[in-house]
């Protein structure tokens, strides 16, 4: 275990995605060299961190060769040409194992690519591999993985957050310039904050869910990790947009996200969610207050807003998400794919398969969700939770009459030690207290690495915006980034080798 604030693993590693793409496209840098460096780095350091469930080295080398060939022939290799990208292992990859970090799907390879994966590959990105997660994305520390936890590159005795901990840590460690995660209740933003990288949960429907293995369908959204706000915007722009394979995907043009980055925050109206500050650590509260000052100095107006309803989001979420999960995960029954444990009859085979294939947290949520939807309890739990969901959305709407974006802590604390919360699920659930409301409302939100605590661990600040408010959100995000404590974000430094 290395001490916090010690030498940053990967500090001499990758530069940002925009730079890599620009240099690969110009022919100055070969994609093949990027691939070799990344694969060598992962080979030497990921045994300890366990960011990846699977590294797809051969495919990465082949993709790099294709990018280099296109560059050589003068063809357009795409906006993410040669950029190494890590994929959360709940995104379907054709012919490549997709496990959701569960014994249930160990060894299963989908016959198709997720829409976001297709778009990434079409943009010239190089897929490094599939990253670790809490089983079926249920958790906030990546300790619920059936294949062992991921360690935080800032301090390997601590968790990276979750559920997209592998993706967040891969970017923080310099294994990939970009990564995709999924965010159902904070699963991108919370690990982004704990790993000192940028993470965005987009507006519900902005990014296709086709090929994202469902946890809670009405809340799930795919989003980017990056070391800079600009890179996150670039990746989001690449994967966003209507997909006819996803009925909940939005129509209309994708907002010009990368253009927003130059707009500044002059005149932007910012509200600080006062109700969240009482439940956050002093370092996290200080980061929000300092972030507000940064925005204010850059020309934004800042006020405190009272949104007590948002705190009820957590309990509504822990009824709605398990309810949907209990249905989404019913298909893992041993009949068609994945694990099968034989039994005397079909029912026994189903039961044995599910008992053996799912870990304790997944089983807990399936039981909770099944109960919530049961006859006689539906109104008291599921229907009531939906009413709370409406209240949360109304509270946001009230705030957004006065402000363009909201500022809040991303997580209640910095990265916590491995094992600190595994014995107490409710304590673990609280890690998502500040991120859940955006999922319930379908709104975008991002975590920006902003400060370091006394131990040198990164602290994130969360920017929340109304539906399709990504442009305002990114404007605030860029301003926060430029006012952040030096060294607070991902261990990437100027003058990187690549």
């Amino acid at each position: 275990m290395s001490g916090a604030g010690g030498p940053r693993p990967g500090a001499e590693g990758l530069s940002d995605a925009a730079s890599i793409a620009s240099r690969v496209r110009s022919g100055e840098l070969r994609a093949a060299d990027v691939a070799e460096q990344v694969l060598g780095d992962v080979e030497s350091r990921d045994a300890e961190l366990h960011c990846f469930n699977l590294v797809t080295g051969e495919a990465m080398r082949a993709a790099a060769a294709e990018v280099d060939r296109l560059v050589a022939t003068g063809a357009d290799p795409g906006p993410l040409a040669g950029v190494p990208v890590a994929l959360k292992d709940n995104l379907c990859t054709k012919g490549v194992p997709t496990t959701c970090s569960s014994r249930m799907l160990e060894g299963w390879s989908p016959p198709y690519d997720a829409t976001v994966v297709r778009r990434l590959v079409a943009a010239g990105a190089l897929v490094v591999g599939k990253t670790n997660l809490d089983e079926f994305a249920m958790g906030s520390s990546t300790e619920n993985s059936a294949f062992g936890p991921t360690r935080n590159p800032w301090d390997t005795g601590r968790v990276p957050g979750g559920s997209s901990g592998g993706s967040a840590a891969a970017v923080a460690a310099g294994f990939a310039a970009l990564a995709l995660g999924s965010d159902t209740g904070g699963s991108i933003r919370q690990p982004a904050a704990l790993c000192g990288v940028v993470g965005i949960k987009p507006t519900y429907g902005l990014v296709s869910r086709y090929g994202l293995v469902a946890f809670a369908s009405s809340l799930d959204q795919v989003g980017p990790f990056a070391t800079t706000v600009a890179d996150a915007a670039l990746l989001l722009e690449t994967i966003a947009g209507h997909d006819e394979m996803d009925s909940t995907s939005l129509g209309g043009p994708v907002p010009r996200l990368t253009e927003a980055l130059r707009s500044g925050v002059d005149g932007l109206r910012v509200g600080v969610v006062r109700d969240f500050l009482a439940d956050a650590s002093a370092d996290c509260v200080a980061a929000v207050r300092n972030g507000a000052d940064v925005l204010s100095r850059a020309g934004a107006s800042v006020e405190d807003v009272a949104l007590p309803e948002l705190l009820h989001g957590l309990s509504a979420y822990y009824l709605i998400a398990p309810a949907e999960a209990s249905s989404n995960l019913a298909r893992y029954d041993g009949v068609r794919y994945g694990l099968r444990v034989d039994g005397e009859d079909v029912e026994q085979m189903n039961a044995r398969t599910r008992a053996a294939g799912f870990g304790p947290e997944v089983r807990r949520r399936i039981m909770l969700g099944t109960y919530v939807l049961s006859a006689g309890y539906y109104d008291a739990y599921y229907a009531q939770a939906q009413r709370v969901r409406t209240l949360v959305a109304r509270a946001f709407a009230r705030a957004y009459e006065h402000v363009d974006v909201l500022l809040a802590p991303t997580a209640p604390s910095v990265a916590f030690p491995l094992g600190a919360k595994t014995e107490d699920p409710l304590e673990m659930y609280l890690a998502d207290l500040f991120t859940i409301p955006s999922n319930l409302a379908g709104h975008p939100a991002m975590s920006v690495p902003f400060a370091l605590d006394g131990q040198g661990l990164p602290v994130g600040v969360q920017v929340l915006a109304p539906a399709l408010g990504e442009v305002a959100m990114l404007r605030a995000g860029v301003a926060l980034e430029s006012g952040a404590t030096p060294g607070a974000r991902g261990p990437v430094r100027p003058g990187a080798v690549v």
Binding site: Y112, A214, S218, S247, A330, R331, R336, D345, A375
Partner: protein
């Protein structure tokens, strides 16, 4: 709605009891592709060849609603006089190996079609509570253990049918007895085929029926406890199952026992219903709104476009045909005529009758020849030239052909087409044509001037003698009625 009791014919076990039936009919929609994916909706392909990640429910796949299926559901609603309304999809959760996702996407408390009716040939209206869209399941084959899932050694699943679009049409408990239940399904099938919604092939599973059956003493107001009988794959099974189930319930009640509300399985071979294992029906389906689909809110333009080109429904066609036939003094159709109307429409021959009438054919006779004779070969009848058919009917109506002769000519017309007059000549009925008859009459009048004078003077009984002479002159081939008519016409 009238609830006239109809006892099951020939089943005295049910004497004094009324059988109440409500039906749930699952109808496969005749779309080119499945409900939520692009796989072909085709019967009879090799197992598991019409599948994709979506209809196999693979992790990460999502449903996208088939627009054509919605259009066809709108047509069903229109044809059944339903209100077509905004609707939503729910998940019906239960574990079964033929269901790839272990839930079925179905419309639950907000179906697309509500509050309609279906009018039987008898004129009775059966209420339609709702019709909703849902996806079909795959098909399981159980090896060993008597072909049921419990006790089977192995089970094989074919997912070709998984995700095929269905509408489930739920009637109100308005049917009284097995015959009416059968008539309802036959009528519904005709409506679905006419609407272009289904091929109506029960033997291929395009229509599947579950029956809710209860009994009550004739005259009672309150419904008895009902049982749902599943696995009814033909009209015959439906009729037998309803009769058996009603008799079973009556026997229970008459021996002092109670009917327990339950789901029962119809065994076609044994000819009896049996209770499903309680485990099989103890499901709590945990319905909740399907988060992967958006609410369905067809606007008026969509509904009108979907319903455009709906042909007249059987009940409307029966009404149209009945209106063209003379009614009794009491304003009603004779029962036999109503039956002829129903048969004619059922076989799709009403257009023939209507067209023949437009050419001047006698309505009742045209209907009778269609329903009784042409109906024997409906394929040929649908190709019949209405003008030729109309002339045939007129030859009979005018007495130029006897009924027997007209039927023989019609048989020829149906077999090979042609002109009825020419066929009649070829069959030797030519002499009976009006020209030959007049010639024969002329000769008889010339040969019997005295008798003719007496007839002219009003002595009607002489007509018999004159007719006899004409019959003799035509060697008995004349039509007696036609001769009498010709005599009367000549007297003026």
């Amino acid at each position: 709605m009238s609830g006239s009791p109809v006892a099951a014919a020939g089943d005295d076990r049910l004497a004094g009891w009324e059988t109440v039936v409500g039906l749930e009919v699952h109808c496969e929609l005749a779309t080119a592709t499945k409900l939520f994916c692009g796989c072909p909706n085709r019967f009879g392909a090799a197992p598991n060849t019409q599948v994709c990640p979506v209809c196999l429910g693979l992790p990460g796949s999502l449903p996208v609603l088939n627009r054509r299926a919605v259009e066809l559901a709108v047509r069903v609603g229109r044809a059944l006089h339903c209100t077509i309304r905004p609707s939503t999809f729910h998940r019906k959760n239960y574990f079964y190996p033929d269901m790839p996702k272990d839930f079925q996407i179905s419309q639950y408390d907000e179906p697309i079609d509500v509050d309609g009716y279906l009018e039987l040939p008898s004129g009775r209206r059966i209420g339609i509570e709702r019709a909703h869209i849902e996806e079909d399941t795959g098909k399981t084959a159980h090896l060993g253990g008597g072909g049921r899932i419990h006790g089977a050694d192995r089970s094989l699943v074919d997912y070709n049918r998984a995700g095929v679009p269905l509408v489930e049409i739920v009637s109100r408990p308005d049917m009284r007895g097995a015959d009416e239940a059968r008539a309802y399904v036959a009528e519904l099938r005709a409506i679905l085929v006419a609407s272009g919604v289904s091929d109506g092939r029960m033997e291929e599973g395009s229509l599947r029926v579950d029956a809710n059956v209860s009994v009550r003493p004739i005259g009672a107001e309150r419904f008895g406890t009902r049982c749902e009988v599943k696995n009814l794959n033909s009209l015959r099974s439906l009729g037998r199952a309803v009769e058996h189930e009603a008799a079973r319930q009556v026997a229970l009640i008459e021996t002092g026992e109670r009917v327990v509300q339950q789901t029962r399985h119809w065994d076609e071979v044994e000819g009896r219903t049996s209770a499903m294992r309680s485990k099989e029906e103890a499901n709590d389906y945990r319905y909740f709104p399907e988060p992967d689909l958006v609410p369905l809110a067809p606007d008026e333009a969509f509904v009108e476009a979907a319903a455009a080109g709906l042909p007249l429904m059987p009940a409307d066609r029966r009404a149209r045909l009945a209106a063209l036939v003379p009614h009794e003094a009491d304003g009603l159709l004779p029962a036999s005529t109503a039956d002829q109307v129903a048969t004619t429409v059922d076989l799709g021959l009403d257009d023939l009758v209507v067209a023949a009438m437009a050419c001047g054919a006698d309505a009742r006779l045209a209907l009778a020849r269609t329903a009784n004779e042409a109906a024997q070969t409906p394929e040929a009848a649908r190709r019949l030239d209405p003008q030729a058919f109309a002339r045939l009917v007129e030859l009979e109506a005018s007495g130029s052909l006897s009924a027997t002769q007209a039927k023989a000519v019609l048989a020829e017309l149906l077999a090979g087409g042609g002109e009825p007059e020419e066929i009649a000549r070829r069959l030797g009925y030519e002499a009976l044509g009006s020209g030959a008859l007049v010639d024969a009459l002329d000769a008889v009048v010339a040969a019997h001037p005295a008798e003719w004078a007496r007839y002219l003077a009003g002595e009607d009984k002489v007509a018999q003698l004159l007719t006899g002479q004409v019959m003799k002159a035509t060697k008995g081939r004349a039509n007696g009625k036609a001769v009498a008519a010709a005599l009367a016409a000549r007297r003026g």
